[in-house]
């Protein structure tokens, strides 16, 4: 994709996106709603016209081609099955439109339904299927086309939690078996982290960061990515730069491993730390007092929702040790290597 732009009337929603997606990789677009991830996917599919820029698939410029000529297949959030056709006809429809030979159609439908384990449902109508089965049929309809690129538009968000997990694994398996390029849009972090080879984080029609799940999680490019990826999200605390690698947060001094040449003493900064990098200690240097508002017990772990001295909220993960009760005050220390500092404009400093 080269400098992709999209405007609705005078409103530009995609502001020049450049992206190279390696063949055979699984790329996930994530971002808050309205960030343009679905629009971008629909432009790749050819359902949305590109205002400016070019899209190439396998070295072929497809910017002005019809959706059916681009070598893509798409799975919709709402399945979008043809309700008046049986599952078999649903799967075969695209091939029939392309005037594929009957024997070939049958073979491909059979293969696809075997992969997805829907062979016993072929004569049913979509109305007689459960949500998970419908989604399988929708994926099957994509498979029979043998596309260069699979496009998924939030395919699992209509399913219940349990089914979502199993379909997620199914999609990962499918990617391994078929080896096609897959582009997947979601706002679900777990889906993004577990499925992706590479994650593209979008905001307001711009790419904020592109990288492997680990890169995006551990080395967020800016304060937005840091706050968006991860659940619960990274704690971002307002602080003041004191110079010499020191920051004042909620009345406590923290050291951060940077010199901070481009910062002036007294500059506002944001101090970031993920919940799992906070530890409950007995106090001591660099620890920070926090009052526990309430504690969420999840079995293996516990999330402590705290308030700092100046009222800033903070979430800490607490794995072992004596139970912590709401209302008590604890001392928290922060893993030295995991401290992040962001400038007032969102740039990452450490």
């Amino acid at each position: 994709m080269t400098d992709i732009r999209k405007s609705f009337g005078s409103l530009e929603v995609i502001h020049g996106i450049d992206l190279r997606i390696a063949e055979g990789s699984f790329v996930v677009f994530v971002g808050p709603s309205g960030c343009g991830k679905s629009t971008l996917l629909r432009m790749i599919a050819g359902l949305e016209e590109v205002t400016d820029g070019e899209i190439e698939i396998k070295g072929r410029n497809v910017t002005d081609l019809d959706p059916s000529d681009r070598g893509i297949a798409m799975v919709f959030q709402s399945y979008a099955l043809y309700p008046h056709m049986s599952v078999r006809e649903n799967l075969a429809f695209g091939l029939k439109m392309a005037r594929t030979e009957t024997a070939e159609i049958e073979a491909r439908v059979k293969a696809a339904s075997a992969i997805l384990k829907i062979d016993h449902l072929l004569d049913r109508r979509p109305g007689q299927l459960s949500g998970g089965q419908r989604q399988r049929v929708a994926i099957g309809r994509a498979i029979v086309r043998k596309p260069d690129v699979f496009l998924f538009d939030e395919p699992l968000s209509n399913l219940d939690a349990e089914l979502r997990v199993s379909m997620r694994i199914e999609i990962a398996r499918l990617h391994r078996e078929l080896g096609n390029t897959m582009i997947y849009v979601t706002h679900d972090q777990t889906e993004a982290m577990t499925l992706a080879d590479r994650i593209v984080v979008l905001r307001d029609g711009r790419v904020e960061q592109e990288g492997t799940p680990r890169e995006v999680y551990e080395n967020p490019a800016n304060i937005f990515v840091a706050g968006f990826i991860g659940s619960p999200r990274m704690n971002l605390l307002g602080g003041t730069w004191l110079g010499n690698g020191r920051v004042r947060v909620a009345g406590s001094d923290m050291s951060v491993p940077i010199a901070g040449e481009d910062l002036q003493i007294g500059d506002k900064v944001s101090f970031g730390a993920r919940p799992e990098h906070l530890f409950v200690t007995d106090g001591g240097a660099g620890s920070i007092p926090a009052k526990v508002d309430f504690a969420e017990y999840l079995g293996g772990t516990q999330y402590l929702y705290c308030q700092l001295a100046d009222g800033q909220p903070l979430i800490a993960e607490y794995r072992s040790g004596p139970a912590v009760n709401a209302g008590s005050t604890i001392m928290l220390s922060i893993d030295d290597n995991k401290r992040r500092l962001f400038a007032a404009d969102g740039r990452r400093l450490t």
């Binding site: 599919a45 050819g46 359902l47 019809d66 959706p67 059916s68 893509i72 297949a73 798409m74 919709f76 959030q77 709402s78 399945y79 979008a80 099955l81 043809y82 309700p83 008046h84 429809f93 695209g94 439109m97 392309a98 109508r125 979509p126 109305g127 007689q128 299927l129 949500g131 419908r134 309809r141 086309r145 209509n158």
Partner: protein, 296 residues
């Protein structure tokens, strides 16, 4: 001992529940039956009366069935009016079916266009089309007559058909636009990815989904064209071209002051039958839940 007592009381309460359910159900069915009878009685009485003997036909209709055996006298005498009942039935059928075909064809395409394409002045145009529903067509009968005359289409069944289609279109276009609006956009997009475009998309994918709308439009077009009287009377002038309602007017007016009630009943029966057939044929497409399973 206690156990059997418990059993007894349980079966007692169960029997009470069953009796209550039975009573509720009987009341429900009885009411339904009464309403059905109320609506069906006029049709039954007309149909039965049309099979009376010629002399019996002019007597008061009690009892409402033929007493002296079944006869086709009334139908025979109906056939002596105008150019014969077959000719007029044929005229009516021709006009009605042509109206249905043209109305469905135009309103499907127009509804699809209004629902799915973006073009300048779309909404103004749509409102204009709907607004014509407010004009009583009797008030434009004279201009219509003049236009048809200019086109050389007065006293022609084709001209009458065109008038009926025109009168039918605002409602039908409105109906079809709503029907197409109800089809989820994703289905259309999936079809486009599958390689279906324009007319293929319309006929292979969307048409089956808007069948209930088409059935509604067809039923309305048929009934309105079949029963229309005033335009047919004004725009047609030769005897052998009149449609059934015009014939019925002549039958109802009688000859030399005497009304042949048998012929009137027979005419009503002839006029009712096709409406029933059309409705029974198309009503199953009213079926709800056709879209079930498409999305979500």
């Amino acid at each position: 001992m206690i156990l059997s007592k418990m059993n007894a009381s349980m079966s007692l309460s169960r029997r009470r529940r069953e009796r209550k359910a039975f009573r509720a159900e009987s009341a429900y069915h009885a009411t339904g039956l009464a309403i059905a009878l109320f609506f069906l009685a006029p049709f039954a009485i007309t149909l039965l009366a049309s099979f009376r003997h010629g002399t019996e036909a002019r007597l008061p209709p009690l009892p409402p069935w033929p007493v002296n055996g079944i006869s086709l006298d009334s139908y025979r005498s109906l056939d002596t009016f105008g150019a014969g009942v077959w000719q007029h039935t044929f005229n009516s059928l021709l006009v009605s079916l042509a109206t249905v075909a043209l109305t469905v064809a135009v309103s499907v395409l127009a509804g699809y266009g209004f629902s799915r394409y973006r073009f300048p002045l779309k909404n103004v145009l749509f409102v204009l089309i709907i607004a014509t529903l407010m004009i009583p067509f009797q008030s434009i009968l004279t201009p219509l007559f003049i236009i048809l005359a200019r086109l050389g289409l007065n006293n022609s069944l084709f001209g009458l058909t065109l008038v009926y289609v025109t009168l039918q279109l605002p409602f039908s276009v409105f109906m079809m636009r709503n029907a197409f609006d109800a089809v989820p956009k994703e289905i259309e997009e999936a079809a486009r990815i599958d390689g279906a475009r324009d007319l293929k998309l319309l006929f292979r994918v969307l048409m089956p989904l808007v069948l209930p709308g088409i059935a509604t439009v067809a039923i309305f077009a048929f009934l309105n064209a079949w029963n229309e009287f005033l335009a047919a009377l004004v725009l047609l002038s030769s005897n052998e071209k009149y449609t059934l309602p015009v014939l019925m007017m002549a039958v109802r007016a009688g000859r030399l002051g005497a009304v042949n009630w048998g012929a009137v009943q027979a005419g009503v029966a002839v006029m009712t039958l096709p409406c029933l057939v059309v409705f029974l044929l198309l009503q199953r497409y009213y079926m709800r839940g056709l879209m079930a399973g498409a999305v979500k």
